[in-house]
Amino acid sequence: MEEKMLNEKESLELISQMILNTRKKMEEGNGMPFLIWGYATFIVSLVVYYLLSTTGDYHYNLIWFAIPVLGSGGMYFSKRKEKKHSKTYIDRIIVNIWTVIGIAGLLVSCAAFFVRIPVLPIEMLLMGIGTALTGLVIRFKPVIISGFVGMISCALPFIIKGYEQIIVFGIVFLIMMVIPGHILNYKGRKKHV
């Protein structure tokens, strides 16, 4: 492309071509955030389950706060490596969705120290809502479905009693975030080939 005058038809063609090319470039999948948060939650769930079930010391619940630490750290390094050259409206919507969901999730976790509330189902419902909304915004079925699976699964901790709830919680995150994260990355890689 250079500095030259166009006729009217060429101008209109150029506009539609550039917009289409830019949109196509934007549709490349990026499942890294789902993988980072999904694996972080799954691993922390296993650790908390092991420590609580073997010792019974409720202080080990503080380890749950390793999820935001691991997740934020992972996101920081992933963004540094990613070198993204543009930001779309969709990117902004997704960041805002997860900012709201993240703050809500953190508030629920903190509130659980003062009030007796079913933290695990509330977190599953919140993260399921975030995942489903993300799927709807990026128009990607596996993410929409996994989000709704997460939302429905919030009933499981009411059925399963005891520390096993924690294992179920971890597995739900594996299904809700890790699987669609890998599918998104696979689709993204396929587009590059």
Binding site: M1, M18, I19, H85, S86
Partner: protein, 96 residues
């Protein structure tokens, strides 16, 4: 009647840059260079013209240790782009 075609947008590279920026929230220099395939020098000159007209805003920052300049279309730029497309339609007899 034919409408006025804004000469600032009626050039291949400037129109290409505006079309890219209207599809995204922000883009950096590398992205614009990749999408347009133009030379860095030529892009800089055209971006300067668009920026002087108030069609795009330029934000200089850092990505790690490297400098990174980000470009965004302004409200004035969106208005000019819409007027330009409307004018094109009048030339091409496209119903509005």
């Amino acid at each position: 009647m034919f409408k006025y075609l804004n000469p600032l947008l009626h050039s291949e590279l400037r129109l290409g840059i505006m079309s890219i920026l209207i599809s995204v929230e922000e883009a950096d220099f590398v992205f614009i260079r990749e999408r347009t395939g133009a030379t860095a020098g030529n892009i800089s000159v055209q971006i300067e013209k668009l920026s002087e007209a108030g069609y795009i805003e330029v934000e200089k920052g850092f990505a790690g240790k490297r400098t990174r300049t980000v470009y965004r279309i302004t409200e004035k730029g969106v208005g000019a782009f819409e007027e330009y497309v409307d004018a094109l339609k009048s030339y091409l007899n496209i119903n509005q």
